[in-house]
């Protein structure tokens, strides 16, 4: 009944709108997902598992996991620190810092990658200095980690800033008057209050870190079995017309997405917190 009260559209229009929405979801979201699995299994399970067991594929998985394992904790620390500073203290230039955090979202991933090549590549600003010391950043793991960390930097901070802002500083101040030190206040008051939002931010950060293509593609150099992450490996296979293998590896990424969605839904269910669609 309440639907009738809040919508003014007539019944046929409503049916049409709902139908259109369902069609869009099917065509744009569901169909590609199904296609990935269908294509992956087109030549049977044998080929599917064979492509996953391939040495280059395993190395790509390993590299992806390594890059995420380094950049996600790094961004968690940075994000929590940035949100803490930006919401619990008032200072000049605060607003500017808040918008700077979004920079990686605003910049094209390709540019985000090129910047690091420009800085650390052999013809870059610090290239000679690094070469002299035999330190490789570009076309190696450090570059991939840096590019991934840069692109995924905003996720945790963006999730926490509005949350911490809405919680204010009352509880922290109460803890101060009760004699708690700054670190203890963070661990015992702030952190428990933001834990679900934090988990949510980490989850999104991780999904993006493992799936990042553009920036990583620029700094990786596509060295098969060495500097190819999973998304890059999929592209390489596809360009070599190994469609089934490409899609088999793509199913791993699709599964990552599904698991992320599952956990995200569970968190929202547990906390009644719905921040979907903020990004």
């Amino acid at each position: 009944m309440s639907h009738r009260e809040i919508t003014t559209e007539s019944r046929p229009v409503r049916v049409l709108l709902i139908g259109a929405a369902c069609a869009v979801v099917t065509v744009f979201l569901l169909l590609p997902l199904i296609a990935v699995f269908v294509e992956a299994l087109r030549k049977g399970w044998e080929v599917f598992f064979e492509s996953l067991r391939d040495e280059a594929a395993l190395s790509a998985v390993k590299l992806t996991l390594t890059a995420a394992a380094i950049s996600v904790p790094m961004n968690t620390l940075f994000g929590v620190g940035a949100a803490w500073v930006l919401t619990k203290f008032r200072f000049r230039g605060r607003a500017l810092l808040v918008s700077l955090i979004d920079l990686p979202f605003a910049v094209s991933p390709v540019i985000a990658g090129l910047v690091w090549v420009l800085l650390f590549g052999s013809h870059g600003w610090f290239g000679e200095w690094l070469d002299a010391r035999d330190i490789r950043i570009i076309f190696a793991l450090p570059g991939i980690v840096i590019a991934t960390a840069f692109v995924t930097f905003p996720f945790v901070a963006r999730e926490l800033i509005p949350l911490m802002e809405s919680q204010g500083t009352d509880q922290e101040e109460a803890a101060v008057t009760l004699g708690a030190s700054g670190w203890r206040i963070f661990l015992r008051v702030t952190l428990p209050n933001i834990k679900w939002g934090l988990l949510y931010g980490i989850l999104l950060c991780n999904a993006r870190a493992m799936g990042e293509f553009g920036a990583v593609s620029v700094v990786s150099g596509h060295i098969r079995g060495e500097t190819n992450t999973l998304p890059l490996h999929v592209e390489v296979l596809y360009n070599e017309y190994q469609f089934s293998a490409a899609f088999a590896c793509a199913t791993l990424l699709a599964m990552l997405a599904l698991v992320t969605l599952g956990i995200k839904t569970a968190i929202e269910h547990l906390t009644g917190h719905t921040s979907a669609g903020k990004h």
Binding site: D170, E173, A175, T177, L178, G179
Partner: protein, 355 residues
């Protein structure tokens, strides 16, 4: 422990939130900071607690004669109860109350069993026995308020500061809790400074009322004296219903509805009284309220007892004579007053407050 506030200034940007505020809070007293919203009450309380620092200058804050300016909030041993309680949402009631003890440094932290015993004792003190395992969201407003109080008391504070302690509660709970607090204060005798914008609350509860306005202190004194002898028109108006009269010489004066004497028109004394016509009659309460219009056309609110209303047998349209008491704000008047001792609103220890 007494609190002495001496020439405190506080500026936010270019807004002066406190302008040369000085105040003595006697040891063991229950003092109310009363004033309209934005007058600087919370700011003053936060500066006393150390949550905010006063502007640089000669201003000082002394706890029992000892300057605490520069001492961080956590070391001042003040119990602070926040306006919206600021309970730790994710902790149980018992964990909330124990917090101040569990964050003590290793050497000073009491053993677990002792902390638990202290928490139980405090729960009893604030009449929340058996609710230690609840979470804040499972409590009523009045209960949360008392958890916040118990948490503040756990650290054995030297002074207790309460910011609008009843602000977020509904009327009945508010009244009960207010009496309970008075009773409680008399029992533990802790120097207490509380903020309110409700004059009734301040007058009923406090030993000493501090009226604040526009970042300054307007008047300090026991409730009775402030009520009977307001020093400024602002205090007069802020402390309760008041009529503003235009005098024959063009000046103005204030008079409270219940201070006006109503007589038969036949008893009119042209030297002191005024004639008026009854416009409205409200007699559905313990006192009868009249709205009358005087000769020059001023509307005046008057309160008389039901008994007197019956004696006068008034109805709308009747003529009455009004006579007024001497003006207490008159600089020549009795400003020092008798300063009647504060009436402890709730000294009856047998009473169980039902909150």
């Amino acid at each position: 422990m007494s609190i002495s506030i001496q020439s405190i200034h506080k500026t936010f940007g270019n807004y002066k939130a406190l302008d040369d505020v000085s105040l003595e809070v006697p040891n063991g007293s229950l003092t109310a900071l009363l004033g309209p919203s934005g007058s600087g009450k919370t700011t003053l309380l936060r500066i006393v607690a150390g949550l905010e620092s006063a502007d640089d200058g000669p201003g000082r804050i002394l706890f029992h004669g000892e300057n605490v300016v520069g001492i961080p909030a956590g070391k001042r041993q003040v119990g602070f109860v926040f306006q919206h309680y600021a309970l730790f949402r994710h902790m149980t009631v018992a964990q909330n109350i124990a917090f101040g003890l569990t964050v003590l440094p290793w050497g000073k932290r009491p053993p677990r069993r002792e902390i638990a015993a202290r928490v139980d004792e405090l729960l009893g003190l604030v009449k929340l026995d058996g609710l230690g395992r609840r979470r804040p969201h499972e409590l009523s407003g009045g209960q949360r308020q008392r958890v916040a109080l118990a948490r503040a008391l756990a650290i054995r504070p030297k002074v207790l500061l309460l910011d609008e302690p009843f602000g977020a509660l509904d009327a009945q709970v508010r009244k009960d809790l207010r009496r309970w607090l008075r009773h409680f204060h008399d029992e533990i005798g802790l120097t207490t400074l509380f903020v309110t914008h409700d004059q009734e609350e301040a007058l009923e509860l406090a030993d000493q009322v501090v009226v604040m306005r526009n970042s300054r202190i307007e008047q300090v004194g026991p409730p009775q004296r402030i009520y009977d002898h307001p020093r400024t028109p602002f205090v007069y108006e802020f402390l309760g219903n008041v009529n503003k009269l235009t005098l024959r010489d063009g000046g103005t004066r204030y008079v409270r509805p219940h201070e006006i004497e109503v007589k038969f028109a036949a008893e009119y004394d042209p030297d002191f009284d005024r004639l008026a016509e009854v416009q409205h009659l409200f007699s559905a309460g313990p006192v009868a309220a009249l709205s009358v219009r005087t000769e020059p056309g001023e509307f005046i609110e008057v309160e008389i007892s039901r008994k007197q209303l019956d004696e006068l047998a008034l109805s709308v349209g009747d003529q009455v004579a009004l006579s007024f008491p001497p003006d207490p704000t008159d600089p020549e008047g009795d400003w020092t007053g008798d300063g009647a001792a504060p009436t402890a609103a709730a000294n009856d220890h047998a009473v169980e407050w039902n909150i």
